[in-house]
């Protein structure tokens, strides 16, 4: 009989053990996942013509200078203006400012013009994401020039680029008169991966 009771007690004890364990609060852990893609945005240039020097008008992304040449010397007239671009990159990125022709060059110019110049150098200084950079278009040769800066954080705001053409600056020397015609350069502003 004692053996029987012992056996019964043992059986009860075994059955109760899992129930005691189950009284611990039960938890389920779930992970919510998502992703944010690398994005850069770049708006159209904005130029305050009123604050510029020697700028006639802005149409879209084209800046028209009033007079590239000085009326008396026919050499380069001092010019400056600031262009801003609303922009954003949500990752570590690179800003590259490029000059397509390395200066303002005479469009359709053929051959040499002794005593005259056919290109105008300029400088562009720019700031973005806490970084500063500069591009010098020397007008020494008609080729692309790039000036990149790495920005090691996301950035949002305005890319500010200040263009400056010095009085008398030409590819033929300081103060050399310019050949008549239309002068042009194309600047590229690029935001992308490093």
């Amino acid at each position: 009989m004692r053996l029987t009771r012992t056996a019964l007690l043992a059986a009860v004890a075994l059955l109760a053990a899992p129930l005691a364990f189950a009284q611990v609060p039960q938890k389920a852990t779930i992970t919510a996942t998502g992703s944010a893609a690398q994005i850069c945005t770049l708006g159209a240039p904005q130029v305050n013509v009123g604050a510029a020097t020697n700028v006639q008008s802005v149409s879209g992304s084209t800046v028209m200078l009033s007079d590239l040449a000085d009326d008396n010397s026919f050499s380069t007239k001092a010019t400056d203006f600031t262009a801003t671009f609303a922009a954003m990159c949500n990752f570590n990125h690179k800003l590259t400012v490029s000059s397509d022709y390395n200066g303002l060059w005479l469009v359709g110019g053929i051959g040499t013009h002794p005593g005259f110049a056919d290109a105008v150098p300029y400088q562009a200084t720019f700031s973005w994401g806490g970084q500063n950079g500069s591009l010098t278009a020397t007008a020494a040769s008609e080729s692309e020039v790039d000036s990149p800066i790495d920005v090691n954080q996301p950035a949002a705001g305005n890319i500010v680029i200040h263009f400056e053409v010095d009085q008398g600056a030409t590819n033929g020397g300081n103060g050399v008169p310019l050949v008549a015609g239309t002068y042009q350069d194309i600047l590229f502003v690029t935001l992308g991966a490093q």
Partner: protein
């Protein structure tokens, strides 16, 4: 078997008493008792992850509208007594971005996690992440269920927001947040 032997023995030893007054049968009562503890069991997750997908608006990098109702279920849960169900949500944070993002950006996305299917009312909790990814404090939602319950629990995410309205999300392929559901048996 033991009782049968006793009965036979009595028949052999006392045949002459068959004519005497009947004797009341001997009885014994044994009472078995046991107890069932208050207990809850959390069932199995259909998926331990809720994928929200792409979080950013490609036009400006801000938080996109999240379509649908991202959810998961827990099947086979039970409590053999009244219970308290608690849910807590921590923000989805960019796992690969170290440090605090610059002004105008965020590395956290907040949301509301709501439990349903386990009695009523349905508790919910909203994460309280800051742009730097930290959760701003201890918080949770809970509900008391008065009776035993055995049901499927559904956890649904909604109301996705940036800590600062209009802030942009830093790029990261792995934003993660944690939702915890707890079942506690009433004591």
């Amino acid at each position: 078997m033991r009782n049968q032997l006793l009965t036979l023995a009595a028949a052999v030893l006392i045949p002459g008493l068959a004519f005497a007054s009947p004797v009341a049968p001997a009885t014994a009562t044994v009472t078995l008792t046991g107890s069932i503890g208050n207990a809850c069991h959390m069932g199995d997750l259909s998926s331990s992850q809720i994928s929200v997908g792409t979080l950013t608006n490609s036009s400006d990098g801000t938080l996109a509208a999240i379509s649908g109702s991202p959810n998961t279920t827990i099947t086979g849960s039970w409590c053999n007594v009244g219970s308290k169900i608690t849910i807590s949500a921590l923000p989805m944070v960019a796992q690969g971005y170290s440090g605090s993002p610059p002004s105008g950006f965020t590395k956290a996305v907040n949301y509301t996690a709501t439990e349903s299917g386990w009695g009523a009312p349905t508790p919910s909790d909203t994460s309280q992440g800051t742009t730097s990814g930290a959760d701003s404090g201890s918080h949770s939602g809970s509900a008391d269920v008065g009776t035993a319950e055995a049901n499927t629990i559904t956890v649904t995410l909604s109301n996705f927001t940036a800590p600062v309205s209009g802030s942009r999300l830093v790029a990261d392929n792995n934003y993660q947040g944690t939702i915890t559901v707890t079942l506690t048996a009433a004591s």
